[in-house]
């Protein structure tokens, strides 16, 4: 047996049970779901009727619990699947939830909390204020250790094929940390400015805010951060924030300088490798420079991004086509080679006259334009064949070169067009025209030049393997279009000549690699980007570049080719529903969009999209819903002096065997919005009793009692008792027992804190039943609190935030009275914590009709449940105040001890027999 007793829940009942069991010499495992022991009592201001400070009397209990030699405490952990075997031993599963902090190293300094950029409602302050996603539960937490709250991977991060922490940099910009945002992207890739413009932002499509007003402008926020950086620091170094390891004496060569190659080079250079990029063209950048037109991605932005690389020592050798990969290792001495040559070959239309003058492929066309060899198309009619992004780029470039008409012909319909919808829309706005369901069958030549294009009319047939409906010719239907130029953009593929002899080429000429490791059959040879996949997009190539760099590093260090945490083994993506359910209230946010300078027939190549203003960037970032809670911005990682943050920590599941179980899972507070007539959740100045306790506590959020709506110090305060108790309407006919007394306590404390305030309590029966409780009630009356009998029928809010209570003055005039108050406190009651139902496996723990843990013989056997060996302590079995809970826990412990002694006798008897 691992432990004598498993105690579940560390509120006052659980702590008392554990300490007393420990004192008797039993070994106890105490499991608590929050990060700190202490339950609710530690969050209270003072306790009735002694007015002891709750911290002062429960803090030491917490300390005794955690320091007790016979108690093992697991906080931030949960119990499930409790099962009793034939011998009466219990088996339970204990799941230690990941805190993402190495608690052995954490000193509780709270630097992570200060650095964290995400604010969420602070459940330990009853949501009155915010806490950070990296947090220590509360100032008196035991153990005082930090937790990173991560509900999962934020959808934007989950959607990014480059594994860039979109939520992170959005959160940083929201906090005014623009340079940190830049550095966070830079940590993944040097191409920050490029992505800020030319990325198709799959993150935005997944953004949960899309379900409300529209997505967070994630891409433009990244561009904002990049622009801020480059403006301030020039198109060079990344600054000292980027860590570069000292040279490790080894070298890697990257063939090709597109996004995959540049990224791989960047990552390896930062790890201390001497990295050389060889590029066959005159300038680096691949399609970033040679295909994407400058009005979308200015060349100086690409230059600035590439300067990040050269600034940390990456060598880029241009005009250097590679023909022999093996020689790079054998002859030139590189330790590893990464092939990142992309998709250089344009797919041919395979129609007659394809190569006559005026018929070109899109890649060559865009390359010429990018390199100052643009043809003059003034007054010309151009037909662009294809429906991808290259087609859109080509058409829009033609218009800029003066073309009279730029017609895009595509064999399916607009719905199937692979171009990004924004690209298509923008092309149309600039004057491109589309003709759908036509396929080229012949370039019409006249005198060796293009005169037109003959087209076959198509229709959509059955969906193909990609899910798109395949076009099929309509027999006999042909048309033709007259034009001066035909640009073919129907596809591209890798040029396999470089590697087919060395590593082998697969489908479409792609280099053969293991997709997880990007290693080829030749161990030192890796590949990344479109050369391994066929044409994708920039982010996918960047992701591949990161992966290749990671794997090359592992391989060169003799390590297993795993552990690529940027994309592999991430936490599950948080669902939008989950996020939206979590929010209690939404502020409406007008979506922030970048201004795009779209005019018909533009004539130059200036960048058409305007940057966000700082205000737009903050506001746009401010609309982030923090889906994963933690944004992965890495600020805590940088801030932690103990280096204790572990983003790759995962839950730890273990099995324990115990001789007995104590269920001390406590209660839930009544959710006051289930009494809509009292306005909680809608009227900011209607709060719950627990919220008032927080306002009065020594660790109170505002350091004084004020009303949350406008910060006014309240002078007229009303209490409404029995909120959610003694109320069939909300399904709780029980009295919660504690609310009268905690209200009276608060009445006294308020009169102490705000001597000028009038306190009135509307009650049904004053249930001050307990030792010195009635005397405590009389004391409150003597201090001046008013007590009015009768149930309040409703609360309405005035424009100034004051509240009007409507009630029948039953014991006075008998009339309906409307009374005004500054602040209304709802004395919310206690409800069962139904989490208890999830604790047990096959054998269900018996509950009473109100879903509290049943004590079948509560008259003489308190604490005993219907499962032998399972006991209940505290409010898990019904409403109790603190002293009741302590006494009840004491009783439960006596029952546990009797059970364990009986078991001991039984097993000894067995041995003797």
């Amino acid at each position: 047996m691992d432990y004598d007793v498993l105690v579940i829940g560390s509120g006052i009942g659980g702590m008392e049970s554990s300490i007393k069991l420990g004192d008797m010499g039993y070994k106890v495992l105490l499991v608590e779901k929050e990060a700190s022991v202490g339950g609710r009592m530690i969050l209270l201001s003072k306790v009735f009727p002694t007015l002891d400070c709750a911290s002062c009397i429960s803090g030491p209990k917490m300390s005794s619990t955690i320091n007790h030699p016979n108690i093992t405490t697991k906080t931030y952990s949960e119990v499930s699947g409790i099962r009793r075997d034939a011998t009466g031993t219990f088996h339970a599963t204990v799941t230690e939830k990941p805190t993402f902090v190495d608690w052995a190293a954490c000193t509780g300094c709270s630097d992570c909390q200060t650095a964290c950029t995400v604010a969420v409602p602070d459940q330990f302050n009853s949501d009155l204020v915010a806490r950070r996603a990296a947090y220590i539960a509360f100032p008196q937490a035991v153990p005082k250790k930090a937790v990173l709250e991560r509900e999962g991977t934020s959808p934007c991060i989950g959607a990014c094929p480059a594994g860039i922490k979109a939520h992170g940099y959005v959160s940083l910009v929201r906090n005014g940390k623009d340079e940190e945002a830049f550095q966070l992207v830079l940590d993944a890739t040097p191409l920050v400015g490029t992505l800020g413009r030319a990325c198709y932002a799959p993150c935005e499509s997944e953004c949960t805010r899309t379900k409300l007003e529209g997505p967070v402008p994630i891409r433009l926020i990244k561009r904002f951060a990049a622009d801020q950086h480059y403006t301030a620091q020039g198109a060079t170094p990344s600054g000292p924030a980027i860590e570069v390891a000292p040279p490790n004496g080894r070298s890697v060569v990257v063939v090709g300088s597109g996004p995959a190659g540049l990224t791989a080079a960047w990552q390896l250079a930062r790890k201390g490798y001497a990295v050389t990029i060889v590029e066959k063209r005159a300038q680096p950048g691949g399609y970033l420079r040679h295909a994407i037109p400058a009005y979308r991605l200015p060349h100086d932005v690409v230059d600035a991004d590439i300067a990040n690389l050269t600034s940390i020592g990456v060598t880029i050798r241009c005009n250097e086509p590679v023909t022999d990969l093996a020689a790079l290792k054998e002859r030139d001495g590189f330790d590893a080679v990464i092939v990142a040559t992309g998709t250089q070959d344009a797919t041919a239309m395979n129609v007659p006259n394809e190569h006559v003058a005026g018929s070109v492929n899109g890649l060559d066309f865009l390359d010429d334009v990018a390199n100052g060899k643009a043809p003059d198309l003034t007054g010309k009619k151009v037909v662009v064949v294809g429906g991808g992004n290259v087609a859109m780029d080509a058409a829009r470039v033609c218009l800029r070169l003066g073309a009279a008409e730029a017609k895009v012909v595509y064999r399916r319909t607009r719905a199937e067009m692979p171009a990004h919808h924004v690209e298509a829309d923008d092309a149309e706005a600039e004057g491109a025209v589309f003709e759908f369901l036509v396929a080229p069958i012949e370039v019409i030549a006249d005198g060796g030049r293009v005169a037109g294009l003959r087209l076959q009319t198509m229709r959509l047939g059955e969906p193909d393997t990609s899910g798109r409906r395949s076009p099929e010719p309509v027999p006999g239907a042909q048309t033709s279009v007259a034009c001066d130029m035909v640009i073919s953009t129907i596809g591209m593929s890798p040029d396999a000549t470089l590697y087919e002899q060395v590593a082998g080429a697969g489908r479409g000429g792609r280099i053969k690699v293991d997709p997880r490791t990007l290693q080829t059959d030749v161990p030192y040879l890796f590949a990344a980007g479109d050369v391994t996949t066929g044409a994708t997009d920039i982010t996918t190539a960047i992701g591949a570049g990161r992966r290749a760099a990671h794997m090359v590093d592992r391989w060169l260090n003799g390590q297993e080719l795993t552990g690529f945490s940027a994309l592999d083994g991430r936490l599950d993506v948080v669902g939008a529903d989950q996020v939206l359910r979590r929010q209690t209230a939404y502020g409406h946010r007008n979506p922030v969009k970048g201004a795009v300078d779209l005019v018909p027939r533009p004539r130059d190549f200036h960048e058409i999209e305007a940057p966000l203003t700082p205000a737009e960037a903050r506001s746009g970032a401010g609309s982030c819903l923090d889906c994963g809670v933690c944004s992965e911005c890495q600020e805590c990682v940088h801030a932690c002096p103990a280096d204790a943050i572990r983003m790759d920590q995962r839950e730890k599941v273990s099995q324990v065997t115990v001789g007995a179980v104590v269920v001390s899972t406590g209660y839930k507070l009544f959710a006051a919005d289930a009494k809509p007539e009292y306005g909680w959740g809608r009227y900011p100045n209607v709060i719950t009793g627990m919220q008032m306790d927080r306002l009065l506590a020594p660790t109170r959020p505002y350091n004084t009692v004020l009303r949350p709506g406008d910060g006014k110090v309240p002078e007229r305060i009303a209490y409404i008792s029995c909120t959610g108790s003694r109320d069939q309407q909300v399904g709780n006919p029980l009295c919660s027992k504690v609310c009268c007394m905690y209200s009276i306590k608060q009445n006294q404390l308020i009169m102490g804190a705000l001597p000028l305030a009038d306190v009135t309590m509307h009650y049904m029966d004053m249930r001050a039943a307990g030792k010195r409780y009635d005397e405590f009630y009389e004391q409150a009356k003597d201090m001046g609190a008013q007590y009015i009998r009768g149930r309040v029928s409703g609360v309405t809010e005035k424009e100034n935030g004051d509240l009007v209570l409507r009630y029948e003055d039953t014991e006075g005039t008998g009339r309906i009275v409307e009374a005004e108050y500054d602040l209304v406190v709802l004395a919310v009651g206690i409800q069962p914590n139904r989490d208890v139902e999830r604790l047990f496996g096959d054998e269900r723990l018996g509950l009473d009709e109100f879903f509290y843990v049943a004590e079948p013989s509560d008259e003489l056997d308190p604490g005993v449940t219907d499962i032998p060996g399972v006991f209940v302590a505290g409010t898990a079995s019904g409403a109790k105040d603190i002293v009741d809970s302590i006494v009840h826990a004491g009783a439960a412990v006596a029952q546990v001890a009797a059970h364990l002694e009986r078991s001991k006798v039984a097993s000894t008897a067995e041995v003797l027999a």
């Binding site: 320091n67 249930r767 010195r772 009783a891 002694e901």
Partner: protein, 592 residues
């Protein structure tokens, strides 16, 4: 022992007599710092050459701060600890634990109370409170400066408990103790076990007859050979020390009485309470047809034939007058907690006997707390009418001409006009009063509250312990409560006893009197002063000398001032320490 390892030193860091004391001044959230300028207190003592660490802290008792103290003690090699926060009643064990974890002798720690004895008492005078805090902390430092390492006294404990009282609490407690392996002696004053509950029929909330509950417990006790039951018996003597007491029990026999002696480790006092007995004339008590709740209970339980009768007459209407003898401005101020639910339950039983009986409940608040609310609802559904009377205007009960009873009250809902209800029976809902047990109370030196019930150490956190070591209280002797809550208390006392006795030994504070033999003249003055019989005389060459039994001494210090030769000192509170502390209070240099 009177020798000090370190004499009060002169200034100078390298002085071998220097102490290394850590001083921690607590904000207590704001309980202290709202009234005392803790930063000034710190500044006032930080320069003391014996003070190595002087810090203020939000909560000295918080775990994080405890870790800091342990760290400081170890890293700064502290040999003394002063915590200026709340009452030593609250946290002495907390900070002794800190000392122990840091390998500092726990008796080198001094608790300075700047909350109960300062900030809370002087909320209107921040300046004065701050000055007072400075003086108190200086006194604490002065006392700590002269502290010597002490070791706790270890005593063997006896695995047996004496339970005083054989009602439901005592009986259930006895079974609980036996079930975890302790021997039990139950001492019951009456001839029969069972107490109040043993005389009751169906009780709330489950209608189990009290008699049956008691019978079941008695049967269980019979099966447990480790339980000895003594009826007609009273605890008359208690000697010995913590964990090992000799209890003397006087047992009345049929012919002769017997004085029996038992060795026990702990006591659980479960002597219960009495019911309030109204004065004749109080709310009509004495008039035919005016009965107490207890008398009424018997009447209802004995009702047969579908009718309730009183002196042969059929009862068709009843008025219950609540809060008799309770919640009184003059008299018993407390609420008896059980009576509302008991009365509500009685009215349900009545309606089961004869649903046609009209029942009027004249109450001040129906305190049917928790699940008892369900009984209250059922009672109303069965036709009971609840009327609330003002706190200051109790109903008047008179006999009317027809021999029936007239109850006149101001109903809060329909007032201020008076309302008279004619009824056949009036039930005075009487609560509990403390039992008259002066002999036991003074024998055990049990503290009672101003309500007359026994007091626990801390009503919130330590509800079954008393300030008397090894003596627990449970059930109604500590305050009115329903039987099931009394049972819980009894079992909690079982747990508390077991915590002490299961280890087989206990550690006692060594803060006891010690005699300087050389100075003692054997005059014997101290022997008669000691209230705990802890001092004895032993013969020696020069006559006799005083000897203190450390296990029996409570460290009250009563013997110290009576010694004409100043030969007695109290460890942990030596005369030298107290004088130094007084000097500290007066902010003077200590007198060497």
């Amino acid at each position: 022992m009177s020798e000090n390892p370190t004499a009060p030193g002169l200034p100078g860091d390298d002085e071998p007599g220097r102490r290394r004391i850590g001083v921690y001044i607590c904000h207590c959230g704001g309980n202290i710092s709202d009234y005392v300028d803790v930063a000034r207190v710190r500044a006032a003592i930080a320069d003391d050459p014996d003070v190595m660490v002087a810090e203020t802290t939000l909560f000295a008792c918080a775990d994080g701060q405890q870790h800091t103290m342990v760290h400081d003690i170890q890293n700064q090699h502290l040999d003394g600890l002063v915590v200026a926060s709340c009452s030593p009643k609250l946290h002495t064990t907390t900070f002794r634990g800190v000392s122990r974890r840091a390998d500092l002798n726990p008796y080198a720690y001094t608790q300075v109370n700047i909350r109960e004895q300062d900030s809370w008492a002087h909320t209107d005078d921040h300046e004065g409170a701050t000055e007072r805090a400075i003086a108190l902390v200086k006194a604490g430092i002065a006392k700590t400066r002269l502290s010597t390492p002490l070791s706790p006294l270890r005593v063997e404990t006896v695995p047996a408990t004496m339970v005083v009282g054989g009602g439901v609490t005592g009986l259930r407690t006895a079974i609980g103790l036996a079930d975890i392996g302790l021997s039990v002696i139950v001492v019951e004053r009456e001839a029969e076990l069972g107490g109040w509950l043993g005389r009751l029929g169906p009780t709330f909330p489950h209608d189990t007859p009290g008699r049956d509950q008691i019978a079941g417990l008695v049967a269980q006790i019979a099966q447990r050979p480790t339980i000895t039951v003594l009826t007609d018996a009273e605890l008359v003597g208690k000697t010995g020390s913590f964990g090992n007491y000799t209890a003397k029990v006087h047992v009345r026999g049929e012919t002769t009485d017997e004085l029996r002696q038992f060795q026990v480790g702990t006591f659980v006092i479960a002597t219960g309470a009495d019911v309030y007995s109204p004065e004749v004339g109080e709310l009509g008590y004495g008039i035919d047809g005016v009965v107490t709740l207890h008398e009424f209970g018997t009447l209802v339980d004995e009702a047969t034939g579908g009718a309730l009768t009183w002196h042969g007459r059929r009862v068709r209407s009843i008025a219950y007058v609540y809060c008799v003898g309770n919640r009184q401005a003059e008299g018993n101020a407390y609420c008896s907690k059980f009576c509302c639910a008991a009365t509500v339950h009685a009215s349900i039983k009545v309606s089961k006997v004869d649903p046609s009986i009209r029942q009027f409940h004249l109450h001040r608040d129906v305190r049917a707390y928790g699940r008892y609310e369900l009984l209250y609802t059922e009672s109303r559904e069965r036709g009971s009418v609840y009327l609330r009377y003002p706190d200051d205007a109790p109903p008047a009960i008179e006999q009317s001409a027809d021999g029936r009873l007239a109850v006149t009250l101001v109903d809060a809902l329909t007032g201020p006009d008076e309302l008279t209800i004619p009824v056949d029976l009036v039930v005075l809902v009487t609560g509990m009063v403390p039992r008259q047990n002066e002999a036991l109370t003074s024998l055990l030196k049990l503290p009672t509250g101003d309500d007359g019930f026994y007091n626990e150490i801390h009503p919130k956190l330590r509800p079954v312990e008393t300030v008397v070591d090894g003596v627990m209280i449970a059930g109604a002797c500590q305050g009115p409560k329903p039987a099931n809550e009394a049972v819980s208390g009894g079992l909690a006392a079982v747990t508390q006893s077991a915590g002490i006795l299961k280890r087989g030994f206990a550690e006692l504070d060594p803060l006891v009197a010690t005699v300087n033999e050389a100075a003692c003249t054997g005059c014997g003055e101290c022997l008669t002063t000691c209230p705990y019989d802890a001092i004895s005389a032993y013969p020696c060459d020069t006559g006799q000398k005083a000897l203190v039994s450390a296990a029996n001494c409570k460290g009250c210090g009563g013997c110290v001032p009576v010694c004409p030769e100043d030969a007695i000192d109290l460890l942990g509170y030596t005369s030298a320490q107290m004088l130094a502390a007084i000097d500290g209070l007066a902010d003077r240099e200590p007198v060497a």
